[in-house]
Symmetry: C2
């Protein structure tokens, strides 16, 4: 059994409870709404964010059902962002299934994302006034949008630096992963050191996760990742491996790179050139090393937490984020 499967097994009951919450909370009395929403919510995925909420709560000593609610909330925010992202990028495949967009059109995809946000609001209504969840999630959803808008705005900008890119992904991807850990921690403790430790852990694995996603985007077989290889790139959105490659290659290669990233270039030619460039400069290795650095810092942040199964699982999860193949 892989490390990831072991982690899932450790908290199998919690994850089943989260799935039940997801189904229950997204049900609509209008059959068409229900069908469209269930289609995306049941779409699978690794449920990384719910796993983080549950494990972060557990490592801080909490084992109640509020972790399932918050886990469902962060997953719904994540699914809503994927659904809206599918509209934007017109990705034809997401997670190996037809996207909502391809199946029922842009209209419904935008609305289903909005519906999920409305459900999130409902799920937060009954929380105590001093509960930090609302503030954390308000800040998180805002940063996610800002990150997406800035990334869209920077489309076609070849001069984006590694630092600028890391900032964008800390917003787009990192914030919700971080929030998952912070929310879990708050359930179990008021100790600012423990909360900070899990927040740092989340920030670091969030960055590692996105860098590895960028690397996996170049995987030869689109089924493997369940995502359109090359999709973001051809839209002019540079990602970590390309930004690195561009920073180390020579002037001729730089010009050729800009040329092949233009959507009008033949895609086979583009892929062949990028692959040769990546091999020449060991781009994949470099990126995975950078990601492992983030994973290591994530693990180091856990040192002050009690040595429990949950902590061990969080450590293994940090490595899994880098070693995963999808």
């Amino acid at each position: 059994m892989s490390n990831f499967d072991q982690i899932v097994q450790l908290i199998a009951d919690d994850l089943a409870a989260v799935e039940a919450r997801l189904t229950e909370e997204t049900a609509s009395e209008y059959s068409f709404v229900d069908m469209a929403v269930q289609h995306v919510v049941e779409g699978g995925g690794k449920r990384l964010r719910p796993i983080l909420v549950v494990l972060s709560a557990k490592v801080c000593g909490y084992a109640g059902s509020d972790a399932h609610t918050l886990a469902a909330v962060v997953e719904l925010i994540h699914v809503a962002s994927l659904v809206h992202d599918d509209v934007l990028d017109e990705a034809a495949i997401r997670r190996g299934r037809e996207t909502l967009h391809a199946k029922w059109g842009n209209k419904v995809a935008v609305l289903v994302g909005d519906y999920l946000h409305a459900r999130v609001l409902s799920m937060l209504v009954s929380r105590r006034a001093d509960d930090p969840a609302m503030a954390i999630l308000a800040d998180t959803t805002q940063a996610m949008c800002e990150g997406e808008v800035i990334h869209a705005y920077k489309s076609g900008d070849f001069d984006i630096s590694e630092a600028e890119y890391l900032k964008i992904i800390s917003f787009k991807t990192g914030k919700l992963i971080t929030a998952s850990c912070t929310l879990g921690a708050h359930l179990g403790t008021t100790d600012p050191k423990q909360i900070e430790a899990l927040t740092v852990y989340g920030q670091q694995i969030g960055t590692a996760f996105q860098i590895v996603d960028d690397v996996l985007d170049f995987a030869e077989n689109p089924d493997k990742l369940g995502k359109n290889t090359f999709g973001d790139l051809r839209e002019g959105k540079l990602t970590f491996p390309i930004i690195y490659a561009r920073s180390v290659c020579n002037e001729d290669e730089k010009q050729m790179l800009e040329k092949v990233l233009n959507p009008n270039t033949d895609e086979t030619e583009a892929i062949a050139f990028v692959e040769s460039l990546f091999q020449r400069y060991g781009v994949e290795n470099y990126c995975l090393k950078v990601a492992q650095g983030y994973a290591d810092r994530a693990k180091a942040a856990l040192a002050i937490l009690p040595q429990t199964d949950a902590r061990l699982a969080l450590q293994q999860l940090a490595d899994y984020v880098v070693s995963r193949e999808s």
Copy 2:
């Protein structure tokens, strides 16, 4: 001075405070986000929903600044829905300005809508636990999405009944207008009768408002309404005047109507036929009479409220909703 201008003048200070809140709350430290968001928020419109929050609060005896916050919240939810609606319908003109979609692309429009929802969440964070605003707005945003999804789903369904259509618009348009009144009422009173009176008022003018919107959609000059004439129709979304016309015309006209509503038909021909049909059956008059019925019921609901300037303004507003020309 028109009745509407008099109403605006009566609460000019409040509306100025709402505008200030809108600008302040939607500011982003990221200049591109800021520019895109301000573009849509400053896009104008009549600020009907903020006016309703302020007047409903006033008629229940409240005159504090929380009305400005909630007025800004409902307006942001409204603007977010327009922005997402523009993406859906690819409307080229909205309120006489370029849509965000036409100006910067679908991506940014979807994200700006999401950003506005995130800001709404932030604005609600600090409210008291027993405050009803969160629950009302969660319910409202959910119903708005459900209404939109059902309307999109019913696209091209010529057999939609008047009752079904009224249900859809009570969700799409009515819920937020109703929420504006209910939220305002809650600020000033805990008397369930007063709250119910303003809720009924909101429901009735919400329906009147949408029926009149549907009628104005047939206005000859698109600049007048600042909206694409015929837009929804040609997408197969039936509206009130068409549903009525279809219910009273003969079999030949019914078939011709279905034919001209197909987007492949010549638009000039389509408009000419619909106009002739409307004149033959007095469709505009019928619709405006139905709308006036709703406005009258709205006014009647106000009877139990204290006779103040605010109540008079709400009465005038109900008539304005029907008599307006844009």
